[in-house]
């Protein structure tokens, strides 16, 4: 069923290829809706987790549900598998992906009125292929497969920005492509290096096993390590994190890459790949360009889903596989995270372009994710996870809110708006919910994640002295956020209407309200019931990861 969820959009893309032009929109929307509904079937398994966490999350990391695996490439004694599954880490992000994709597809409904309204068929085909790529990244449990899905997303996204984007679309699209590829080539090196080091680890373990079990059973023992048949290395992300022989070999000081200790260097290779996606300072510069130039629905996808892949990568690859390296890099990562928070917020404050402001606010918000994982505590991980989901709801909403006014005014200059609430009261209410959620107002979704991360950072002060000042600085970020959000609301929605004879500002249409309403509801529900909506489902897995790192 998981595979159906992943590949349903691709099938829809195939249908779009042959459907009559007028039907393409409908097919695409139906496909994304069906995918969303299908993904909701993953939910019941995890609902039971509240009462019976053992059954849902197992006793240690690596209990996956909806697992599907089949060998894919076996030449040269390789075991590259098609291996997908979900646990508490990936399934909330999967549902977020299908939801945001559905709403973004609906947001593309007015395609005919876009400035570049050519190639509707190609647009929706690329859109659906992109969704398959995104779902694949969150579901893949084989490193090779993960890498493939990671790269598969690039090309559709490149064209979606490059063809249907704003005035500087070419520049923005290639910048997005180059930055992401720069990260993924490092991941490719790590992919090869980790495979062969895991092979070395398994080989060593195999020799020991053979010695221990004596000559008689040597024939049985060879190839049979720690309950698994393995012939060579592994790309299995769960195996890499849970096979003690591999974990110890990766962490051992004797294991090196180009003369540098293996775990820290691989951790940082992967980290850079994910930090570019996240994006964190200093790798964030692609984001304002890509977000601003992309058409509104694509900005929603970028902010809502693509950025989460960075955070997901930390939690799926970096920390479980290299638990010791996290400690080594904690200070650096936390510093980068705090800089992202403050720098992103300051940049956002300086913008006059509405969309750019929202884009920089993403940098700031994702800084909390980085800070949360860097401090390696339960509060930090949970806060980071919650922040990812909360931002996955609030930032697509903000981008859509910007899109709505842009469709009417055809500009995004903050100083040329004013008093929108007077002419668009319903829209204004939605906008207030969205921006306040982004601000982190208690009771709305943005608050919980930030609060958890900040609490975690203060607590981490017991371990690391540097955590206190970090926490203070990060908390100051909240003030900056409040500053730019409130200022924005004042400039755009309050005050007198800006005299603009060319464009009147009609109230949001039913379609627009239909897109905003689910976001708004989720903003409130997640803010009021954080446990019931998020924590109950993902904490089990996060705690397992922490336990492996010895900091749970």
């Amino acid at each position: 069923m998981l595979s159906w969820t992943i590949f349903l959009p691709a099938i829809g893309a195939g249908l779009c290829l042959f459907a009559p032009k007028g039907q393409v929109k409908r097919i695409a929307l139906a496909t994304t809706l069906a995918t969303f509904v299908l993904s909701l079937f993953l939910l019941p398994t995890f609902l039971g987790g509240v009462e019976n966490p053992e059954a849902t999350f197992g006793t240690r990391y690596g209990t996956m549900h909806f697992v599907e695996r089949a060998t894919w490439i076996t030449a040269e004694s390789f075991t590259i598998e098609y291996f997908v599954g979900v646990d508490g880490l990936s399934f909330p992000l999967l549902i977020l992906t299908t939801l945001v994709s559905f709403l973004a597809c609906w947001a593309s409904w007015n395609f005919e009125h876009w400035k570049i309204n050519k190639g509707i068929r190609t647009y929706f085909i690329l859109f659906l292929l992109l969704e398959t790529g995104m779902l694949g990244v969150f579901a893949a449990l084989d490193f090779f497969l993960f890498y493939v899905f990671w790269e598969v997303m690039l090309l559709p996204m490149y064209f979606l920005i490059g063809v249907w984007g704003g005035p500087r679309k070419e520049y923005a699209a290639i910048k997005f492509f180059l930055f992401t590829l720069a990260g993924s080539v490092l991941m490719l090196v790590a992919l090869v290096a980790m495979y062969f080091q895991s092979a070395a680890a398994i080989g060593a373990a195999m020799t020991q096993e053979t010695l221990r079990s004596g000559a008689q059973s040597a024939g049985i023992a060879s190839g049979y390590v720690l309950g698994k048949f393995l012939t060579g290395g592994t790309f299995d992300l769960i195996e890499m994190a849970t096979n003690d022989a591999i974990v110890q070999h990766f962490a051992s000081a004797g294991t090196t890459f180009l003369g540098i200790k293996f775990a820290p260097i691989m951790f940082i290779f992967l980290f850079i790949g994910f930090a570019i996606k996240l994006p964190s300072f200093p790798f964030h510069t692609w984001l304002p360009d890509a977000h601003v130039e992309a058409p509104t629905p694509i900005s929603m996808i970028l902010a809502g889903v693509l950025l989460k892949m960075g955070g997901y990568g930390f939690l799926r690859l970096c920390y479980p596989i290299f638990p010791t390296a996290g400690e080594f890099w904690a200070f650096t990562l936390a510093t980068v995270g705090v800089i992202s928070i403050l720098y992103g917020a300051l940049c956002a404050m300086a913008q006059t372009d509405f969309k750019k402001l929202v884009a920089y606010s993403s940098v700031s918000h994702m800084g909390y994710v980085l800070l949360g994982v860097a401090i390696m505590s339960a509060e930090g991980f949970q806060g980071a996870m919650f922040q990812m989901l909360a931002h996955g709801i609030s930032s697509p909403m903000c981008f859509f809110l910007v899109g709505v006014v842009y469709d009417r005014a055809h500009h995004r200059d903050l100083n040329r708006f004013g008093g929108l609430w007077l002419t668009m009261p319903k829209y204004g209410t939605m906008a207030t919910i969205g921006f306040f959620a982004s601000l982190g107002l208690p009771g709305l979704c943005g608050f919980i994640g930030e609060a958890w991360v900040l609490i975690g950072t203060f607590r981490a002060g017991a371990r690391w002295d540097w955590a206190y000042p970090m926490a203070v600085l990060a908390a100051a970020g909240v003030i900056l956020t409040a500053g730019y959000i409130l200022w924005t609301i004042k400039r755009v929605y309050l005050g007198h209407p800006h005299e603009d004879p060319d464009h009147d500002m009609p109230e949001a249409t039913a379609r627009e309200m239909g897109i905003l309403a689910p976001f708004a509801v989720l903003c409130i529900v997640m803010g009021v019931f954080p446990s019931q909506t998020v924590f109950n489902y993902c904490n089990g897995t996060l705690n397992h990861i922490l336990a492996m790192m010895g900091t749970g």
């Binding site: 894919w72 490439i73 076996t74 030449a75 040269e76 390789f78 890498y147 493939v148 790269e151 598969v152 690039l154 090309l155 490149y158 064209f159 490059g162 063809v163 679309k169 070419e170 699209a173 290639i174 492509f177 180059l178 590829l181 720069a182 080539v185 490092l186 490719l188 090196v189 090869v192 290096a193 495979y195 062969f196 890459f257 180009l258 003369g259």
Partner: protein, 547 residues
């Protein structure tokens, strides 16, 4: 140490085992047929094209017949009386001939679509094309230095002429001349190097003897002279591969030649050179006096390291240099010429894999190389096919001719995007898998050099993205309202077939890789000749098969 009778035969035996060289014979026969055809059938392009196509099909049938024959009939060495082996036939050679002749078919198909209607000198064209194919087939079928020289020249001389085939085209003439001047110099260096090696091995032309002499002479003046000889050999082969810094002919020749010819040279000539290099390197590997167990610092650095690092650095320089040089190009054909240099660099990395005591088995590297060549063939056939068709219709291969191609000819633009992204090496296209196996072969070796090479290859993927994407941008994001192109159906079919193969090969790479492994194993092993003390006659003792 004489091998089993089925494995080796001396003297030119016109028996069943000559079958192993029947594809080459078919090529020669086709050339002769083309020479005679104008007298009997006239010089019409279509007539000659038909004869050539039939010849290629016969060669294809023969090479298919030979597939796997070396496993049942034994490896063969064609040896004149009292000499060392001149031509060898083993799995690898057969597999390369299959790829070569399939590709020759593809190039012929391209010719039918484009030049068949305007060609005035078809007999000459096909004699040159088939002649160079013959040379390339021979290049991969020898470990004998003299035969290498002959094969390289057999492949090169027709190539010079065919680049400048259109007499009135100054660009072609310039490319041809440049190609020939570089070719002459590198041939001279090659022959000089070979003569040094001949002298220093005490009169042997076998690469196994050269390897043994190199390992035996750990120091001293002979070592230097041997090194010089090896450099000469490397220069000769590097010229065919167009490895930097022997690449200067490549962009001009490729830009000036007809696109069919460029397609042909960009894959076939390089692949032949690479496999010849792999043969040479393999000769050094199987004769390694050290094993992994006793491969200490000194033995490694005095024996195999200079060669491994030499080839490795050459590959890094080649792909990095070419990738950056490609940035400045405004002519798509010329840009793809640089791209082919870069890809030669990636493939060279696979050859560097053999040169390590920790990888005595060449299969990993050799099969990675073979898989890469197969995939690379489809990428280039597709990309150059599109360039050719745009060139025929617009008369230009400049970047501007591709403006708005997605609207003007979507069935050309989409396969072009697939081929270009595949050339970058991104999933979900086969180019990634080709690169992946090279990286894996390097990783398996696990030396410092191999990790340096892996990092360099990964970074080069990034460097190359921008210039390939420039063409994509020109095709998709820019449009100045040029008229739509009408494209021959066959051409559309050809390039789309390549694109589909690239997608399919990504998912179902296993069979190709397994075939590569099969044909890369059981390589002919060039062992040193054992000298019989009683006289001057030497008894070749190679071709012992692995148990």
């Amino acid at each position: 140490m004489l091998a089993a009778a089925s494995d080796i035969w001396t003297g030119i035996d016109i028996g069943g085992q000559l079958w192993l060289f029947s594809p080459e014979i078919a090529l020669v026969a086709t050339m002769l047929a083309i020479v005679t055809a104008p007298m009997l059938l006239g010089r019409g392009a279509r007539t000659i094209g038909t004869v050539a196509t039939l010849g290629v099909l016969v060669a294809l049938a023969l090479v298919l017949r030979n597939l796997g024959a070396t496993e049942t009939e034994g490896q063969g060495v064609l040896t004149p009386e009292a000499g060392s082996g001149m031509l060898i036939a083993d799995n690898l050679g057969t597999f390369f001939k299959l790829v070569l002749i399939v590709f020759l078919g593809g190039v012929t198909a391209l010719w039918w679509m484009g030049s068949a209607s305007t060609e005035r000198d078809a007999p000459e064209f096909f004699i040159l094309l088939l002649g160079s194919a013959l040379g390339m087939a021979l290049m991969v079928s020898t470990t004998n230095l003299l035969m290498m020289v002959i094969a390289i020249e057999t492949a090169s001389l027709p190539s010079y002429a065919i680049v400048g085939f259109n007499k009135r085209d100054t660009k072609g003439a310039e490319g041809s001349l440049k190609y020939m001047v570089f070719g002459a110099i590198s041939a001279a260096t090659l022959i000089y190097g070979v003569s040094l090696l001949y002298g220093l091995t005490g009169g042997s032309l076998e690469i196994g003897d050269v390897a043994r002499a190199w390992y035996a002479e750990a120091s001293g003046a002979n070592r230097l002279a041997l090194g010089l000889g090896l450099i000469g050999l490397l220069v000769g082969i590097g010229f065919k591969i167009s490895a930097v810094p022997l690449h200067f002919w490549c962009p001009d020749a490729f830009e000036g030649a007809k696109t069919e010819v460029t397609t042909w040279l960009s894959v076939a000539s390089k692949a032949a050179g690479l496999l010849l290099l792999a043969r040479v390197v393999h000769g050094f590997t199987v004769n390694l006096p050290i094993t992994k167990a006793d491969a200490g610092f000194l033995p490694y650095w005095s024996s195999v390291a200079p060669l491994a690092w030499g080839v490795g650095l050459m590959s890094i320089v080649t792909c990095t240099w070419a990738n950056f040089a490609a940035y400045r190009q405004s002519n798509v054909k010329r840009m793809l010429a640089y791209s082919s240099i870069a890809h030669a660099g990636y493939m060279l990395m696979a050859a560097a894999v053999f040169l390590s005591p920790s990888a005595p088995d060449a299969t990993a590297g050799m099969s990675a190389l073979l898989t890469y060549i197969v995939i690379y063939m489809f990428m280039n056939l597709g990309a150059f096919g599109v360039v050719a068709m745009v060139g025929w219709r617009t008369g230009s291969e400049e970047m501007s001719a591709f403006t708005g191609l997605i609207r003007r000819a979507p069935l050309l633009a989409v396969p072009m995007i697939v081929c270009l992204v595949s050339l970058v090496g991104l999933p979900p296209f086969a180019g990634f898998i080709g690169k992946w196996w090279v990286l894996v072969a390097l990783g398996r070796q696990g030396t410092l050099l191999s990790w340096v090479l892996i990092t360099a290859a990964a970074l080069n993927t990034l460097f190359s993205l921008y210039y390939y994407m420039r063409v994509v941008v020109q095709m998709t994001l820019r449009d100045d309202g040029r008229p739509a192109l009408s494209i021959p159906v066959g051409g559309v079919a050809l390039v789309n077939l390549c694109a589909v193969i690239l997608c399919v090969l990504f998912v179902f790479v296993d069979p190709v890789k397994r075939a590569s492994e099969r044909y890369a194993s059981g390589l002919f092993e060039p062992r040193p000749t054992v000298r019989v003390s009683s006289g001057d006659a030497t008894v070749p003792a190679f071709a012992e098969r692995a148990p």
